[in-house]
Structures are given as structure tokens and as C-alpha cells.
């Protein structure tokens, strides 16, 4: 469920992250994608369809249809619940209006699954200035979620969310572009997973521990700051370096560093490679094993709130094709992306290992493979 709350947040951020080259509208374009995530006992796949169309060089509309088909036997599910399957469907609509060097954008996203419903709306304004060397974008999104619990018709709660963003892009030289992003996310409501439990030492239990439901604060505010630079290399290639800092009122402090390289080959191919490193400290109220039941006001054992590090190794290829029978397309590409991610936890233990004293189980880690196959057409 936390993942679903985050999905709702992603919806908010997705509408905020409309590319904002303020003085120009993006090209007419359609993308159809198959995505697949597999790792840690979880399989998620589905389609995504994104279409953009502009009118009179002043107006543009976009629509996105996205589906996650989830089959989960994650470590949480295996150790405290039963494997499940589920489907989440998301619809997004966006509109843009270009006036001089200003671009005004609005967006709306709806996401639904059996026990979670999320709606979000966003507005933003982007402005080119200083000889079009600088673009500033201000954005705001508001989200309204409803949380349900399967098998409990009496349970219903909500999450209210506000996202404030400032983006600055600066042309530094003929070959270098710099970016700065600030985003504040503030949430209020039921922020934990109604199915997830924490464990505590229990001498009366045969295993030495027992479980009780998680209890989270009902508010959370996080701030993220990212700086990035993209450099054009003399042999027609591009390299990008990015750093992101994150801190929130739950005590999570995160750092992300990402390096990527883009290399065209001939007139039709573009290859990409990237490496991403991420680390975070645990939330203040997180513990793998609490000393006793109701040890403190707030209790969490969600591995996404644990101390963790991840490494991503990714490659991609894009090939420009002429699609038969589609002469209305100016050009089209077939694209492949693959990422391998390693997740290591410093204070989340693998409870599938039994017969050892509580708190001495091995630390948990897993790897995931993320596949994207998509076709893009410009018309």
C-alpha cells in the first residue's frame, strides 16, 4: 500500500514534470510501451500509451494511459501475508498554452486499484528569460487519495498532498546546460500500509517474536534539491551528471548520484548507458525488531524506510525505422531499455531464515530487472 501511495505521488510529480522549454511546444508525438519489472518476488508489467498534439503552435494537449499488472510474493508478503495479484490503471490529461516566452500548463491524473484511489491536479508556468539562456518554471500540484482495506468494508481513510516545485535551466556555454530543481512534498492523512506489520520480541512466541500493525505519523513533509549538468562532447555524444539531496520530517536523508552517456552511431542508432547510486538513512521510527509491543508511538518496518543502498546499471538503444503503411509519420523509432538494480539493506533482515535468535537473521538484499520496449512516432 505504501507503494501505492507513492504511485499517487508519482502521479503528482508526473504532471509537474512536463518538459518546459518555455518558448516552444514539444513536437507531436505518440509512444506505445511495454514495461516489465521483476525482482524480490514481485512481477509488474503492462502497457503505457502517451500521445501529444499541438494546435496553431499555441496550444497542446497530451494524454497518457498506463497499467500496472502486479503479481506479488515479496518478502513482506511471504513472511506476513499471502501472495496477491492486482491491477492499477492510470489516466492523465494535460494541456499547454504558449504565449510569447511563457508557457502555462495544467494536468490531471486519476489512478485506481481495488484498495486505493488517487486523483491529482497540477498547474505550472515556465518563462524563458535573459536572451533565452534561462528557463524558470514554478509548479504546484494537489492530490486527493482514498485508502481502503481489502476484507474490511468499514475502513476508509484519505491522504491530502501538495507538491511545490521550482525548476531552473541555464545555458552555461555552447556545449553545457545546467539544471536546478527544488521540490517540496507535504502530505497529511493515512500514510502507512494497512496490511504491513512490525515485529517485536515476544518470549511467549515459539519464534521469539510476534507482529503488530504499523503506526505512522499522519503528516510528512519532504524537500528535494537536485543539480544536474549535461555536456555535449566533441564527437557528437552527451554526458550527464546529476546529484540529488533529500530530507524529510520522518528523518530520512537520501543522496542520489547518476551518471549517463548518450552516443549516436550512424544516422539511425542512439545508444545510452547509465549508472545510478542511491543511499538513505532509516526513518526515525523504523526498526527491524522492536524490544516489545507498542514500544513507541510510531512503528515502521517498511524496507523502503530502512537504511539502504541501491546501484543501477542501465543500457538503452534506439533505432530509427520506416514503419510500413504509416506514411503520415515523419519519423519513428524502436526503443529498448534495460536496467539491473541491486538493493542492499543495512537494518532489514530476511525473516525467511528461521531457527536463529531474533535479530540475527541475515540482512536482506535483492536484485531487480527492469525492461522497457517502446515505439515512438512523430507526426
Amino acid at each position: 500500500m505504501r507503494a501505492r501511495a507513492v504511485l499517487a505521488l508519482s502521479c503528482c510529480c508526473a504532471v509537474l514534470a512536463v518538459p518546459a522549454r518555455a518558448g516552444v511546444l514539444e513536437e507531436d508525438r505518440a509512444d506505445i510501451m511495454y514495461h516489465r519489472y521483476e525482482g524480490g518476488g514481485v512481477e509488474i508489467d503492462g502497457p503505457s500509451l502517451l500521445v501529444r498534439k499541438k494546435f496553431e503552435e499555441k496550444y497542446a494537449v497530451s494524454a497518457n494511459y498506463y497499467v500496472d499488472m502486479v503479481s506479488s510474493a515479496s518478502i513482506d508478503v511471504v513472511t506476513t501475508a499471502s501472495p496477491y495479484t492486482e491491477e492499477r490503471t492510470e489516466y492523465s490529461l494535460g494541456g499547454e498554452y504558449l504565449r510569447g516566452k511563457s508557457k502555462y500548463s495544467i494536468g490531471f491524473t486519476n489512478s485506481e486499484e481495488s484498495d486505493y484511489e488517487a486523483n491529482s491536479a497540477s498547474v505550472s508556468i515556465a518563462q524563458d528569460m535573459f536572451g533565452d539562456l534561462t528557463t524558470v518554471q514554478l509548479s504546484f500540484a494537489r492530490g486527493w487519495d482514498k485508502v481502503f482495506r481489502r476484507g474490511d468494508a468499514t475502513f476508509e481513510d484519505r491522504v491530502d498532498r501538495r507538491v511545490y516545485g521550482v525548476d531552473l535551466t541555464q545555458v552555461a556555454t555552447k556545449s553545457l546546460i545546467l539544471g536546478l530543481s527544488w521540490e517540496t512534498v507535504t502530505e497529511e492523512g493515512f500514510l502507512n500500509n494497512p496490511y504491513r506489520s512490525v515485529r517485536y520480541l515476544d518470549p511467549d512466541s515459539a519464534s521469539g517474536f510476534s507482529f503488530q500493525p504499523e503506526v505512522y505519523p499522519r503528516t510528512r513533509t519532504g524537500n528535494a534539491l537536485a543539480v544536474r549538468g549535461r555536456h555535449f562532447l566533441p564527437w557528437r555524444a552527451a554526458a550527464q551528471l546529476e546529484y540529488r539531496w533529500y530530507s524529510d520530517t520522518w528523518g530520512i536523508l537520501g543522496h542520489t548520484v547518476e551518471l549517463s552517456y548518450t552516443h549516436p552511431w550512424g544516422p539511425r542508432w542512439i545508444f545510452d548507458a547509465r549508472y545510478r547510486w542511491y543511499t538513505q538513512d532509516a526513518a526515525d521510527f523504523y526498526a527491524d525488531l522492536f524490544p516489545r509491543a507498542d514500544f513507541q508511538n510510531f512503528l515502521a518496518r517498511d524496507k523502503e524506510l530502512a537504511t539502504m543502498t541501491s546501484h543501477t546499471f542501465g543500457v538503452g538503444a534506439s533505432y530509427e525505422v520506416k514503419l510500413p503503411g504509416m506514411d503520415f509519420l515523419q519519423r519513428a523509432t524502436v526503443n529498448f531499455r534495460f536496467d539491473h538494480i541491486l538493493f542492499d539493506y543495512d537494518d532489514f533482515r530476511d525473516l525467511r531464515v528461521t531457527g536463529v535468535p531474533p535479530g540475527t537473521e541475515p540482512l536482506y538484499d535483492f536484485s531487480a530487472n527492469v525492461l522497457q520496449l517502446f515505439v515512438s512516432g512523430w507526426f
Partner: protein
């Protein structure tokens, strides 16, 4: 006092410079490299929004993952 006066003069000079028109140090005809599609922050939005979603579902950090603000000034 003399130092303070110098600092005030310097601040006033800098302030006056800030009020003047800013000359773009990269001219529009010098932005060919920046206009190349490989220089886009977000070449494939359908892919980048999915990747954000993958990370935000599995990590505690949220936000500022977008490359919003193209700003190559090449329109």
C-alpha cells in the same frame, strides 16, 4: 568608514550593472549543439516517467527527479 563607503559604492555599481540588459553570452546561432536531440534532459517522456515511478515505489526519497526546464533557447 572609508571601507564602508567603498563597499557601498561597489554594491551600488554591481546593482546598477544588474539593472542593465544582459547580453546573451551564447548567441542563438551558437546553440546548434544544445538543440541536438541527444542534449534533451528528457528525450523519451514515456520512459522517464516510468523510471521515476520504479524508484519512488522502492525508495524513501521523493521529488526533484524531473528534468523539467528544457531551456536550450533554440526555438
Amino acid at each position: 568608514m572609508r571601507n564602508l563607503r567603498m563597499v557601498l559604492w561597489l554594491a551600488a555599481a554591481l546593482g546598477a550593472a544588474g539593472c542593465g540588459p544582459i547580453e546573451p553570452w551564447v548567441k542563438p546561432y551558437e546553440r546548434e549543439r544544445l538543440a541536438d536531440p541527444i542534449m534533451s534532459w528528457d528525450r523519451d517522456p514515456v520512459s522517464s516517467s516510468y523510471v521515476k515511478h520504479v524508484y519512488e515505489s522502492r525508495e524513501g526519497s521523493r521529488g526533484a527527479m524531473g528534468g523539467a526546464g528544457g531551456g536550450c533557447g533554440c526555438n
